[in-house]
Amino acid sequence: MKKLLLASAAAALFAGAAGAEEVKMGISLGFTGPLESLAGPMDKGAQLAMKEVSDSGKLLDGSTVTVVTGDSTCADAAAATATVERLITAEGVRGIVGGMCSGETIASLENVAKANGIVMISPSATSPALSDIEDNGLFFRTAPSDARQGEVMADILTGKGIMSVAVTYTNNDYGKGLADSFQAAYEAKGGKVTVNAPHDDGKADYSAEVAALAAAGGDALAVVGYIDQGGAGVTRAALDTGAFSTFIFPDGMVGTALEEKFGAETAGSIGINPASEGDGRDKFNEMAEAAGFDPHSPYAGEAYDAAALMLLAMQAAGSSDPAAYKDKITEVANAPGEPILPGELGKALEILAGGGDIDYVGASSVEMVGNGESAGTFRETEMKDGALAVIGFR
C-alpha cells in the first residue's frame, strides 16, 4: 500500500513537471444563498474561459482543463470553508475561482487556501479588508475594492460641487464598508457627511430612518443598498416626505428597476457602478450570448477574467503548480505585451509558449494594482427624463 501511494505521488509529481496533464480548476461560488441569482452566470463565465483554453489544446503542451464546482453559500463561512477544503484536498484542484462574498472568501482563504498554498481569484469579493490581508501572494481579485469605489464616488460628487450628503447603507459588511470608505474619501476632499446611518433590509416602513436622515440634512442622499430591498423603501420614503430630491445610487441600486420605480422623480440623481466598456466587453457579450447566458449579469465578465488569468499565468510559468504561477498573474494581467481580449486565449497561450509577453485586457479591462486587485472602471450615469444616461467611465 505504501509503495503504491509513493508511486502515485511520484507519478503526480512527474505529470506536474512535464507533458500533458489534466489540470483541475475549482469554482467556489454562492449557488445557494442571498446572491444565488448572480452565481449561475458567473459560473458560466468562468467555465467559458476554461473551455476555451482546454479546447485550444495549447495549454502546457496540450493539457486539458477539468472543472470542479462547489457551493460557497455566500453567507455561511463554515460551509464555504468546507467546500474549498473539499476542492483542494479531495479533488486536488490547482486553483480556485472564488469565493463570491467577502466574509466567506476571507474565511476560506485564511483557513484552507493559504495552508495548502492554492491560488484563489475572486471575481466579486469587494471588501476593502481583502486588500491588505496576509495572503502569501495567493489571493487576487478581478473586481475593484470598495475603497476604490468610495474614492470614485467622492471624486464625482466634489466635481459636481455637491459638498454635503447624508449616507444610508444596508446593514451588512458590504454596506458599511462602502459607506465608510466613501465617507473617508469624501471628507478628505473637503466634503461633509452629515449622517452615516444603517437601514435594515426587508422592512415595510422606512419613515423613521428617513426622518433621521432628513433631520441631519444635506444636498443629496447616498443610498448604499439594494433596489429590490430596503434601498427602494428608503428612496420612496425620502421622496414622499420631501426630505431629499437628489440621490447618489451606487452598485446594486443602479438598474432598470430604479428607472421604473423612481425615474420620473429623481432627475439629476447620480448612478455609479463598476462596469467597463470597449472591445473586450463587446467581445465577451457576444461570446456569452452565443453560450446562452446573460453577459450583463454582474461579475460574469469578472469571473471569465479570473479563470483566464489563472490559466494564462500557468502557461507563463510553464507549470500548474500554484507556488510557481502565483507570481505570474500580475505579469500577464499588466503591460507590457500584446493586449488580449476575450476569445483570444489561444493566441495568448501561443505567445506565452514562445516566451513572449501579454497584457490581458479581458472583459473587465483588468489592470492589477496594489495587492493583486483590479483597479476597475466605474460607470457614471445621470437620471434624465426617467432614464439613466451614461455620463462617462472612470
Binding site: A204, D205, A215, A216, G242
Partner: protein, 335 residues
C-alpha cells in the same frame, strides 16, 4: 415663522406617520384583545391572519384592476376588502372548528391554546406564502397624496414641506369608523351584550341562556374583520410582504398588553402609545431645536435611539408596564 416650520416638521416626520401607524396597531391590538377577552388566550396567529386577509384582498384587487373597476382617487383595495374579510372569516372559523374547539371543550389551560395558536401561526404563514408568494407586492392605486410637499411649500411659503398620503388619511378615518362601529356593536346590540357577558363570566352567561358557540363564532368573525382591515391598511400605507406581518406581531402585542389585555379602549390607547414612542424616540430633534432655539448648534443629532433599535422600544414599554402595572394602563385582565 420658525415656530411654524418646527410644527410642520414635527407633523411631517412624527405626528402623521405615527398616527397612521398607531391606527394600524390599534386595529390589530383590538383583534388580539377581543380574542383574549372572550376566548381567553393570546392568539399568536393574529399577524398571519392579517397577512392572509391582505393576500386575498390583493388578489381580488388585481382582478378588479384588470377589469378596469376602480374607485377614482381611492384605492381599489377598499372594494376588494369585503371579499378578503369573508375569506379570512371562513378560514378562522374552520381553524376554530379544527383546532381550538377541541381544547375549549376540554377546558384546556390557556397556555395550551396559546401553543396551539403558535402552530396555527406557522400553518397560516405557509398558506399565505402559497397563495401569494414571499415577495413584496404593490397594490395601492388612486391618488398618492392629499397634500404633497411641493404644493404645500408653494401654498404656505414655508421652508419645511408637509406630505399627507391618501393612505395615511384613509387609515385614520377607517380606523375611527371601525372603532365606532365596534363599540356601538358591543354596547348597543344584543349579540354585543352577550359577548361582553360571556367575557365577564362564562358560567353566568351560560346560565342566562347565552349560546357559547354563537358568541365564539361572532368573536372570530369580528377578529377576522379587524385583522383584514388592519392588514390591508398597513399594506396600502407601507408595503405588503408576508414576513412583515410576522414582525408586526410584537408591537401589536405590546399595544394590547400596555392598554390592558381584554380591554378594547386600552388596545386603542396602547396602539397609539407604542407608535408615538417608536417614532418619537428614534426621531432626531436637531432640526426642531434649530428652529426653536436659533444659534444653538449641538454636536449630535439629538436622537435618543438609533432607528435600527426601533423594535426594541416595544420591548421596553412592554417590560416597564408588566413590571409596574401588570394589568395594563386600562385595567384589563392580568396576563
Amino acid at each position: 415663522m420658525d415656530i411654524l416650520n418646527a410644527i410642520v416638521a414635527i407633523l411631517n416626520f412624527v405626528v402623521i406617520p405615527a398616527a397612521a401607524y398607531g391606527a394600524q396597531l390599534a386595529l390589530g391590538a383590538l383583534g388580539v384583545t377581543l380574542i383574549y377577552g372572550i376566548l381567553r388566550f393570546s392568539n399568536f396567529a393574529h399577524g398571519d391572519t392579517m397577512a392572509f386577509g391582505t393576500a386575498i384582498t390583493i388578489l381580488v384587487t388585481w382582478a378588479l384592476q384588470a377589469a378596469g373597476i376602480g374607485l377614482g382617487p381611492l384605492p381599489t383595495a377598499l372594494l376588494a376588502l369585503p371579499v378578503g374579510i369573508a375569506a379570512t372569516a371562513v378560514l378562522v372559523l374552520l381553524t376554530d372548528r379544527a383546532v381550538y374547539r377541541f381544547y375549549r371543550v376540554q377546558k384546556a389551560a390557556p397556555i395550551i391554546l396559546v401553543m396551539a395558536s403558535v402552530g396555527v401561526m406557522f400553518v397560516m404563514n405557509g398558506l399565505t406564502r402559497l397563495v401569494i408568494g414571499v415577495n413584496e407586492q404593490q397594490f395601492a392605486d388612486g391618488a398618492r397624496f392629499v397634500i404633497d410637499v411641493r404644493s404645500f411649500r408653494e401654498m404656505t411659503g414655508l421652508a419645511e414641506g408637509l406630505a399627507l398620503k391618501t393612505t395615511q388619511l384613509l387609515t385614520v378615518v377607517i380606523a375611527a369608523l371601525v372603532v365606532w362601529a365596534l363599540f356601538w356593536f358591543l354596547n348597543r346590540t344584543k349579540s354585543g351584550k352577550a359577548m361582553r357577558a360571556y367575557s365577564d363570566n362564562e358560567d353566568l352567561a351560560l346560565l342566562s341562556g347565552i349560546d357559547p358557540e354563537k358568541v365564539v363564532r361572532l368573536t372570530w368573525i369580528i377578529a377576522a374583520s379587524l385583522a383584514t382591515i388592519a392588514g390591508v391598511l398597513y399594506g396600502l400605507d407601507k408595503a405588503f410582504r408576508p414576513f412583515n406581518y410576522f414582525q408586526i406581531l410584537l408591537p401589536i402585542f405590546a399595544a394590547a398588553i400596555v392598554g390592558g389585555l381584554g380591554n378594547p379602549l386600552g388596545a386603542i390607547a396602547g396602539g397609539f402609545l407604542v407608535a408615538f414612542s417608536e417614532v418619537a424616540i428614534t426621531y432626531p430633534w436637531l432640526k426642531i431645536a434649530g428652529y426653536l432655539a436659533p444659534g444653538w448648534q449641538p454636536e449630535g443629532l439629538l436622537q435618543l435611539l438609533g432607528t435600527e433599535y426601533k423594535f426594541a422600544v416595544s420591548f421596553v414599554i412592554l417590560i416597564v408596564v408588566l413590571l409596574f402595572r401588570p394589568t395594563g394602563l386600562f385595567r384589563g385582565k392580568s396576563v
